[in-house]
């Protein structure tokens, strides 16, 4: 029985009933921001809000997928229905992508695990809209926990992992010092550090660096965001060593933020962020239309004045901003 031509609400019912093909199709709607996506979001939102969302981020090749595979293996053994959303970059040149995270997980994952690969598809704004939409769907259809893997380069990818209930930052030996990770903004984001590839020389040094860095942020008061010092866990994802400890630490974090009210606060913020991102995307396309001279009169004159150097870009923006409400 084909799904084509079925109304989204019917496909949603099938997904609720556990049909994975139906869930796969709904994710495609959300990912494409297709006409069906709004219905899907509506149906999903009222049922969502139960799953623990875990972000896993870190440098390319640090072992995020292998680690995620070990994690969902454990979860499967514990009888949980876990889902993974693995985000990889699209080629900016062709829009294509090779999505290779799944292959590192599926051999170990229990058959109940749902794994979806997602490409960034060029438009970063689109990604920050699509990911929460997909997470909501997985949540609404009973997956818990939900693991989002994103590579820790690029602001949007980092932000996405940062909106999780629990954000795990993966570090490894031999990948530059923690100053570099700091630059990427990864360190402030972490609720939990994992030093993966602990089988390699230098893993203890990474741990010591991280510890030192955490001492410093305590001294400077930078850890006030969470009020908790992130734990550091050593893992060897290839063998699975350390994965149970990692899961325990994730659960401890969840318990702590549930008790201190941060979980609720993060979720409220996440929803507000989503509304905000939608509004920004909408506004951006309106501004683009305006600047292309396709919506308001007199815009070309303002831009010409900037080109002729009789009006500064700042002044031009002030003039046009006053008319944004007319867009």
């Amino acid at each position: 029985m084909s799904l084509r031509g079925l109304p989204p609400a019917d496909i949603f019912d099938k997904a609720l009933g556990g049909e994975r093909r139906a869930l796969g199709r709904l994710i495609t709607f959300v990912e494409r921001d297709a006409a069906e996506a709004e219905t899907v979001a509506e149906l999903a939102h009222e049922r969502a809000g139960n799953a623990h969302v875990i972000g896993i981020t870190g440098a390319p090749g640090s072992g995020k997928s292998t680690l995620t595979g070990q994690l969902v293996k454990l979860l499967g053994e514990a009888g949980k229905r876990a889902a993974v959303l693995a985000v990889d970059p699209s080629s900016p040149l062709t829009g294509g992508a090779i999505l290779g995270d799944r292959v590192r997980m599926e051999d170990v994952a229990s058959p109940d695990t749902f794994i979806r690969s997602m490409a960034t598809r060029g438009h970063q704004g689109g990604l920050s809209l699509a990911v929460p939409g997909v997470v909501r769907l997985l949540d609404a259809t009973g997956y818990d926990p939900i693991v989002i893997e994103t590579v820790g380069v690029g602001q949007v990818e980092v932000d996405i992992a940062g909106t999780a209930d629990t954000t795990v930052v993966v570090a490894t030996p031999g990948m530059g010092d923690s100053v570099q990770a700091n630059k990427a903004g990864l360190l402030e984001l972490a609720d939990l550090f994992v030093v993966n590839k602990a089988d390699r020389p230098g893993a203890k040094d990474v741990r010591r660096d991280l510890d030192l860095m955490l001492d410093l942020s305590h001294v400077s008061g930078q850890d006030q965001r969470t009020g908790m010092r992130p734990e550091i866990i050593m893992t060897t994802a290839l063998s699975g060593e350390g994965a149970p400890e990692m899961w325990d630490a994730i659960e401890r974090h969840r318990t702590a933020i549930t008790a201190n009210g941060q979980l609720e606060a993060r979720r409220v913020n996440r929803d507000i962020d989503e509304v905000r991102n939608r509004l920004m995307a909408d506004l951006e396309s309106r501004v683009d239309l305006m600047l292309a001279g396709q919506s308001l009169a007199g815009v070309a004159e303002v831009l010409d004045a900037v080109a002729a150097r009789s009006l500064s870009p700042t002044a031009a923006a002030t003039q046009l901003a006053a008319r944004i409400k007319d867009l």
Binding site: R20, R21, G24, G96, R102, V103, E106, I115, S117
Partner: protein
């Protein structure tokens, strides 16, 4: 939300090699070709089972399956893959790439394989074959 190469919905292809044959050069080249043609490749790589491929097609909502074959097992593995997908209710074309002797082409196509690509196929042929196979399924009327 338009993409670089086409305004059609992005094509997603699951690429896998079934069984125990351990050469992955061919499948890696095909992955690059399809990516460079603007497609999203869910790369499963070597030693995959039918079940893995079916799972991936379901969860990834893939539009096509590409099987790389470099030993004589194509006559058994490919038709079984076609059957496994049909059994799961998945309408996706299976495209076989690799060395298929001339005399096997007709019998293989009769088992429901959508297309066969020999080792001499150009990058453009590979990409176009996938596009055509996907368009044929997308264009067909929904089956009951």
């Amino acid at each position: 939300m338009s993409d670089a190469s086409t305004s059609d919905p992005q094509i997603r292809v699951v690429l896998a090699k079934l069984g125990f044959d351990g050469h992955d050069r061919g499948i890696k080249i095909v992955a690059r070709i399809l990516r460079d043609a603007g497609m999203e490749v869910i790369f499963l790589g070597l030693r995959q089972s039918y079940k893995n491929v079916v799972n991936a097609v379901e969860q990834e909502d893939a539009d096509a399956v590409g099987l790389s074959m470099h030993n004589a097992s194509h006559m058994t593995l490919a038709p079984k893959m076609v059957d496994a997908l049909a059994e799961a209710g998945l309408e996706v074309p299976v495209i076989v790439g690799g060395i298929v002797p001339d005399e096997d082409i007709d019998p293989l196509m009769k088992t429901g394989v959508a297309a066969i690509l020999g080792p001499g196929a150009s990058a453009e042929e590979v990409a176009q074959t996938v596009r055509d196979a996907v368009a044929a399924v997308r264009g067909s009327s929904p089956q009951a």
